[in-house]
Symmetry: C2
DNA sequence: GCAAAAGTGTTGGCGTTACACCCATGG
DNA sequence: CCATGGGTGTAACGCCAACACTTTTGC
């Protein structure tokens, strides 16, 4: 076969990990321990291992950096493949975006790293609307992921992956408001969301909030599904 | 850098080229001249050359198989990267989808091929709803491309790329009907499309059709642009 | 004059938006 | 008792879908 005569580019998987923390949409970034862009925050990413798919690699990066085992949402975003995106040579990046509950995020020090680097590489959450200067084209990747995330909220149920199993309606609404970056009308939101038939009320009640207790809901299914339109 | 210890997968670019011919949505396929899947129709694709981006490679495949130089629409679709999709070894495919006018399609024999293979490799158009058995996972790729194409028609102006510069309203409507696979109401279609402000009437008139002559329209811009919603 | 496609408005229903007050609890 | 967020309905508007007849040409 001919393929031998071609020189394959390197292939990485980079993942944009979103979560909501303290009412703000944040992205998980790691300070690079090596050149190029040494010291700059970057998306967690790995080179593909032999015979490893991009999705497997993205899961590997997700697990090793966040401790998230499952329950989040993960999908392929786009493949960035410009010749010039990595000064070391042609490296294409299959990018993914992930949505995870903050409580599942057990941020870990990099494994198998000397302490000096572990300190530097330790992952941190950054608000998406106050991003620092990033390594490579990672800012562009995050911006695309954010567009995709907003679009997905409009016609899928993926918001389940950023909420706890039982949640108050106001928490659901806050997730939408935080991600969309605008306020929504409480009554209209309830009406619309209930009409989608994605969630059901439970017998759980959220108490201890110094205000009226809230009925808790759960998603009928915590698997991704698409709808007609939505918001 | 560590990357050296990883063995990169091979990287190809495969393109789903759509056009409308004789009122039917068709895809351009090439019969494979070599194993694996020798003799099966497949998407036109190429291995990435050194330092070549996926988009450049897709354009290269498009030009060499169809003679289309420009004017069509081309965008990245998805990256298929399962370990098992190519029996020869791990090969990831960055896939693209293209929309071209049929009249721009000058289907060419493969270059630099012995006649025996040229005959076999000669590209042909196949109706998307009567696809033969295809090589690799190419059927899956086409199905995804078709979903994307339908979605794009709903909120972008990309239909311009499958129409001639001047077109009758009925031709525009037919393009939508063929791609969506259902009839649309003539009056509602006109109303909705005109309200989008994407096209303008010209002084051209289409005569000689054994029926009432049609006013011809043109797109104000033949560059991709996105809108709110649409259909 | 007839076949064939072009061109043109109105109406009813449905979904979206805008909007304000009472309720249940914790402190 | 008061501060806090929970919970609820209605009316106006705009968008979308359904629908039929007249016009202009080629033959």
């Amino acid at each position: 076969m001919k393929k031998i005569i071609y020189e394959s580019p390197y292939v990485t998987a980079d993942t944009v990990i979103f979560t909501i923390q303290d009412g703000v949409l944040k992205v998980l970034l790691i300070k690079r321990a090596d050149v190029p862009f040494k010291g700059s925050p970057a998306l967690p990413g790995v080179f593909l291992l032999k015979n490893e798919s991009g999705l497997e690699a993205a899961k590997r990066a997700l697990r090793s950096k966040t401790g998230v085992q499952a329950g989040g949402y993960l999908e392929q975003l786009y493949t960035f493949d410009s010749r010039f995106r990595d000064p070391r040579g042609h490296t294409i990046s299959i990018t993914y975006f992930a949505l995870v509950e903050e409580k599942n995020l057990k941020i870990r020090l990099g494994k198998n790293l000397p302490n000096r680097q572990a300190g530097i590489q330790s992952p941190k959450l950054y608000p998406v609307n106050k991003l620092p200067r990033l390594a490579f084209d990672h800012k562009e990747i995050i911006e695309l992921a954010l567009l995709r995330l907003r679009a997905k909220l409009e016609y899928t149920n993926v918001v389940y992956s950023i909420l706890q199993k039982f949640f108050a309606f106001s928490e659901l609404q806050k997730a939408y408001e935080i991600i969309f970056g605008r306020k929504l009308d409480k009554r209209n939101f309830r009406k619309k969301f209930l009409s989608l038939d994605l969630i059901r009320p439970t017998k759980q009640i959220l108490r201890g909030t110094r205000s009226r207790p809230a009925k808790l809901y759960e998603f009928k299914s915590r698997k991704p599904s698409s709808l007609k339109k939505f918001f």
